[in-house]
């Protein structure tokens, strides 16, 4: 119950901190590009608008997940708002989960509004089959899953580190996570067994963000743009991966936060 109360307040905080102002920028990007594309990309307007729209959803969402996520707990500690809160019948895991779900709710609204914006841009371009509109949804879903994982990652660092360092760590892992398969390459080409094991361990430890961006070696956004068929089994496994990894990160955040002294 208290998780929902904390989540609702976190959502309200995000709204009042004008987090959703990014939507104005998104609207601007989509409007300008919709007008410009007609002049520039002969015959590929629809594909480019889907590509651009989904990429914008991913970029804006990731920026919010990282830069709001790193302050989720740290801001409460710095401003000492956590003191009054944790003296109430609120358990520490309820606080952490509430903060996480509150930001996830903000991201949901953000992604939902941007998706509608993308549909409107597609409508403006015209000539798209109804199935083409629905085809962007699996890609949007995978983007949202990757945002949930990014938020959990930022939250873990937020429980023990400063926002600057948290941003650095999260960004580093986010970038490394997109080149995760290269770690397997490094392992395969390593000269020593120790190095091979090291890169293999790293491969399993670093969150594999490329799972959300490419399925069966095909870029998810590109597949949506070209309206290629969806591999639902792969989407299912990616969902399991996202949930398990995010769950593990949240458990870690709770464990760290539960051990903290608030001086």
């Amino acid at each position: 119950m208290n998780i929902a109360v904390v989540a609702r307040n976190t959502f309200r905080e995000n709204i009042r901190d004008r987090v959703l102002y990014n939507l104005i920028l998104f609207a601007l990007v989509m409007t300008v590009s919709s007008i410009a594309l007609g002049q520039l990309t002969l015959g590929y307007e629809r594909k480019v608008i889907v590509d651009l729209g989904l990429s914008a959803i991913s970029i804006f969402g990731t920026l919010i997940a990282i830069f709001i996520g790193i302050g989720l707990v740290h801001k409460e500690l710095e401003r000492r708002t956590v003191y009054a809160l944790l003296s109430k019948p609120v358990r520490r895991h309820e606080f952490i989960l509430g903060k996480y779900l509150g930001l996830l709710a903000t991201l949901s609204v953000n992604v939902a509004v941007m998706t509608v914006g993308l549909w409107l841009s597609m409508l403006y371009q015209g000539g798209i089959e109804p199935a083409g509109y629905a085809r962007i949804l699996p890609a949007v879903y995978l983007i949202f899953l990757s945002l949930a994982l990014t938020t959990a990652l930022a939250l873990v660092f937020s429980t023990f580190s400063t926002p600057a360092l948290s941003a650095l760590f999260t960004l580093f892992l986010w970038i490394a996570g997109h080149f995760n398969y290269d770690l397997l390459e490094f392992a395969a080409t390593s000269r020593t067994a120790a190095m091979r094991r090291f890169f293999q361990a790293l491969y399993y430890l670093v969150p594999n963000f490329s799972n959300f961006t490419s399925i069966d070696s095909r870029n998810v956004i590109q597949s949506a743009a070209y309206a290629q068929p969806v591999d639902w089994t792969a989407v299912g496994w990616t969902t399991v991966y996202g949930l398990v990894y995010s769950g593990a990160l949240l458990a870690l955040a709770v464990a760290v936060f539960s051990r903290r002294d608030f001086k």
Binding site: M1, V5, R12, F262, K263
Partner: protein, 312 residues
């Protein structure tokens, strides 16, 4: 059953870059607070008052020892529904209005919507913020923040309230209002545990006090008992004292001060008191009052504790 039962409570902080040096903030503290009392927790800065309160609220983990509140361990969530807490220099979500802040806290206690709406209105009246109900907390002065802090500490009709420096940052009117709230809580049977630097407030409100210094309990007991021991004679106030009588009294008493048309005298012991009274009445003076002179808590505090605090 005691409301607060602290046994052998010790807290060490690990400091330094490698966190290897130990600094003892609390040293084997033992304390009990009984139901219905207003308990004052005193001590200079760094004495360990806030550390004790934070351990009671599970914001800090003790190095050793135990805390029980209302008979339950400090970590009990069920017990937390029955207490309230105001942190030192409180800060609340500044994007919320006063009304929203109290509604948020009320929801954490599971207070139902209609009851909560009524309760929030009542509390804002009680702490004098009814007109600022829809003002965001970022626009609040320190005194107003302190008031909203007290309101959030009592929204659940607690059995015990823990207030860390509740008078801090308040003007005289604000202090009077907080004193009134605390007295009101006592009338409802609520136990109040508060730390304060403002000794006259402690003296005016508290049934019992504990004096903490360098993490150790220096003294604890009923306020009148601690101060009774320190009776330092009697003050006699006289009016219409002739010059001749005044000259005679000067030889008998330890201190003589004219204040307006009255004369304030101090007699150090019972023998001198009797002699002064006899001489004054024989000389035709009018007796206004005779009062025992006790060390004020402030005097006591400075004498016993502050003398050991190094000057900057």
């Amino acid at each position: 059953m005691s409301v607060v039962q602290i046994e052998n409570l010790t807290k060490d902080f690990l400091v330094g870059f490698w966190r290897k040096r130990r600094v003892r903030a609390l040293d084997n503290l033992n304390l009990t607070v009984e139901p219905g009392e207003i308990f004052g927790f005193l001590g200079p800065n760094g004495a360990g008052k806030t550390t004790t309160l934070k351990i009671m609220m599970t914001l800090l983990r003790p190095t050793s020892g135990s805390v029980r509140i209302l008979g339950e361990p400090a970590a009990s969530a069920a017990m937390r529904r029955r207490i309230g807490y105001l942190p030192e220099n409180p800060y609340f979500y500044d994007y919320l209005t006063a009304e929203e802040m109290l509604t948020y806290v009320g929801r954490l206690y599971g207070i139902r919507r209609h009851a909560l709406r009524r309760k929030v209105g009542e509390l804002l009246e009680t702490v004098g913020l009814a007109e600022q109900a829809r003002v965001q907390l970022r626009k609040f002065s320190k005194g107003m923040t302190q008031r909203i802090g007290i309101a959030q500490a009592i929204i659940n009709d607690p059995e015990a309230v823990f207030l860390d420096e509740p008078m801090s940052g308040l003007d005289p009117l604000g202090r009077r209002d907080v004193r009134r709230i605390i007295t009101g809580l006592r009338e409802k049977g609520v136990t109040v545990f508060f730390s304060s630097h403002i000794l006259p407030d402690v003296e005016a409100l508290c049934d019992r006090v504990a004096i903490l210094h360098k993490g150790r309990l220096r003294e604890t007991g009923a306020l009148h008992e601690i101060l009774q021991v320190k009776i330092e004679g009697h003050e006699i106030i006289l009016a219409r004292v002739s010059a001749e009588t005044r000259a005679g009294l000067a030889a008998l008493c330890d201190e003589i001060r004219p204040m307006g048309d009255r004369l304030h005298l101090r007699a150090a012991d019972a023998g001198r008191l009797e002699a002064v009274l006899a001489r004054a009445l024989a000389g035709g003076a009018e007796l206004i009052s005779v009062n025992p002179v006790r060390a004020s808590l402030e005097e006591y505090f400075f004498r016993e504790v502050a003398a050991e605090v190094p000057r900057p």
